[in-house]
Subunit: 370 residues, 2 copies
DNA sequence: GACTGCCTCTACATCGATGTAAAGCACTCA
DNA sequence: TGAGTGCTTTACATCGATGTAGAGGCAGTC
């Protein structure tokens, strides 16, 4: 066992990891030549390259990244700030962003903001900010009024529907259209008493909640079904317990309901729990559609219909935008809208899994009206 | 809006962020004095301190962390390497570790290994290794035979049951006792045909699977229930689909079963799905216990009984061990065993949530026999 | 044969912070 | 008065890499 680690030991026995200077001395060349070899500079005589490479492995050389970062003024790190990893949607998004970044040689630092305004501001200006080359932020606490906070001097990509028109690139989805499509789907199934689960208490019409509620109302209007405020069920935060409690209270209050459109999957799963607990059959008595299409929903009983926002596309686009800014792209800020689909499963009576509708993606200036 | 950002603008207009030298010049002091103020060195005349602080804010000074890292030979970053964030157990663990580290001024860099041996080795020796001061690794691909790979010259904490006796601190749980307790609980409910879901195909008896299977067998032996190899249901990886498929196949084969002990919650949720799909009532026909006690299980229908491994304690202990090594603790390597509990819910006929048994934690030398 | 241009390599300055050693100063005590 | 002490500040070297400018050698061109 000791033998297998021999080379490394040589280095560690010196107390101090080998530097380029050590390697240079051993190979009989200059430090810069070692640097050139390490960085793959092409114009090096093969003989020199071999000498250096031998010294490199003999000494078990590992680059001191702090020194390199200091010199080149880049760290190769990017920040991804999300509310909480415990929420499956964000865990899956983080997974996708990490993999996407990885494939371009970037490393992701995850910040959990808890959806708190102060923590989100800290992401944009705290001391840790200096560690990374750019930021992908999914705000929940910040809103339109904080636009000034987004005037930063590093590449920034915003996710979600909380802030529009900020001076930054933005990746989002067509919430109104997607919510309209999901609601229309329920209407087409013949449902007329469709509860909508998830707005804030004093529906402020901002963020995802406002947009999704708009879509819901548009679908009702198109189908000539009157809007009943009694079917709007506030629920925050968008966790299962809130979904379960809020819908439970509605059901216990005796309001007749034949479908539920939940603004995210956690709420939908909570709703499913509340329905089961009361002996309500899904989908026979109440049909249910969620939003986000997290892995979970495929294993609920019944499996849950949901709106898929295009997670991989979002991750890919966000990283691509950041990379392009890091590379010096100074063009106008853009808003990329990812493609969304309504996926039908058992909770709306579908067998297996079917894509009911597709809301195409698009790209517009970041300050275009919503 | 522009006015609110005035100070920052002053700095950015110079093209280049302010350095300590700039601040020193403005305040009329030496660079080192600025450094002393920034770092809270106590012996500074109040008048000097004020001058420096004024210059600091006027220039919007932000420390260049790369330079500091280079000088002090520390980054304040630690690596947490887990298989996948999409797995709720690891997402929740990452959440807990990030928060714990945060409270001690450490920043967490998450690596996803996919459970692959090469990626786990890369965590221990790849180029990104140089970025962080220490590593918390939850191995899945590496095993006993790779002990040499753990002989590293930086603080390392291992998690899980894949590797024992390596030259590193180790945080784990008493898998055998916990699995025994979970199985005993099912036996006490009167179940006799208890399927165990999750071993590898050629039960290699290593890692969590082997230990949990041992616990299962011990419980059967204690209760004088014969071990039936036909009830051992291989399932890998430990995802829902494997749980659903494997248990589904067993059920379809006609093997009588009145309980299932799943080696993790994902498998259990998959199992639940398979049972529902076949019209089997849980818990009346088949009782079900999972392992990990992720958030999910509280919202399944029925809610799922599970073994809680003490996630927060594990996160806390892992970070504490790493910090202590970073602070120079050179004592012998330890193995900390976290407290585990069997939590009963509806899937075993409990109302609400009850703790059925507690397997106490302990601490032993890292090379103690398992 | 002088010139140009390319390849290969080196010396040195530089990125922005912190550690060290010592200097300057005020004050106390003998 | 001179030595001793402790607080405050400074100059300078240093961490380990990369950018720049240019030296030296060799080949090809006219």
């Amino acid at each position: 066992m000791v033998r297998r680690l021999k080379e490394v030991r040589v280095a560690t026995n010196n107390e101090r990891p080998a530097t380029m200077a050590d390697v240079a001395r051993r190979a009989g060349v200059s430090v810069k030549t070692v640097s050139n070899v390490v960085n793959g500079y092409p114009h090096i005589r093969p003989a020199t390259k071999e000498k250096v490479e031998a010294a490199l492995t003999e000494l078990g050389y590992r680059m001191n990244v702090s020194a390199r970062h200091l010199r080149i003024r880049r760290t190769g790190l990017i920040t991804l700030a999300v509310p909480e990893l415990s929420l499956p949607y964000f865990a899956e998004l983080a997974d996708a962003v990490i993999q996407e970044a990885d494939s371009h040689g970037l490393t992701v630092l995850i910040e959990q903001t808890g959806g708190r305004r102060d923590r989100e501001l800290a992401v944009l200006s705290g001391s840790r900010r200096q560690l990374t080359d750019g930021v992908i932020l999914s705000p929940l606490g910040l809103d339109q009024a904080d636009r000034a906070a987004f005037e930063v001097d590093f590449p920034l990509v915003l996710l979600g529907e909380r802030v529009f028109g900020a001076p930054a690139d933005h990746v989002t989805m067509n919430n109104v259209a997607a919510a309209r499509a999901a609601t229309s789907y329920l209407l087409e199934l013949g449902r007329r008493r469709i509860a909508v689960l998830g707005p804030g208490p004093a529906d402020t019409a901002t963020g995802s909640a406002g947009l999704r509620l708009d879509g819901y109302r548009e679908a009702l209007a198109t189908a000539d079904v009157p809007f009943d405020p009694g079917l709007v069920v506030p629920a925050t935060p968008w966790h299962r317990s809130a979904g379960s409690d809020s819908l439970g209270a509605l059901l216990d209050g005796g309001t007749p309901v034949d479908a539920v459109f939940a603004m995210n999957d956690a709420l939908a799963l909570g709703a499913l729990y509340a329905l089961h607990a009361r002996g309500v059959d899904v989908p026979a008595d109440v049909a249910l559609v969620g939003f986000d299409d997290v892995d979970d929903v495929r294993y609920a009983t019944p499996t849950l219909s949901s709106v898929a926002p295009g997670r991989d596309e979002i991750a890919h686009t966000a990283v691509a935008l950041l990379r392009s800014r890091l590379a010096g792209d100074g063009g106008p800020y853009v808003r990329v809208i990812s493609e969304a689909r309504v996926v039908a499963r058992q909770s709306t009576g579908a067998a297996g899994e079917q894509v009911i509708s597709v809301q195409p993606g698009s790209q517009v200036p970041a300050d275009a009206p919503v």
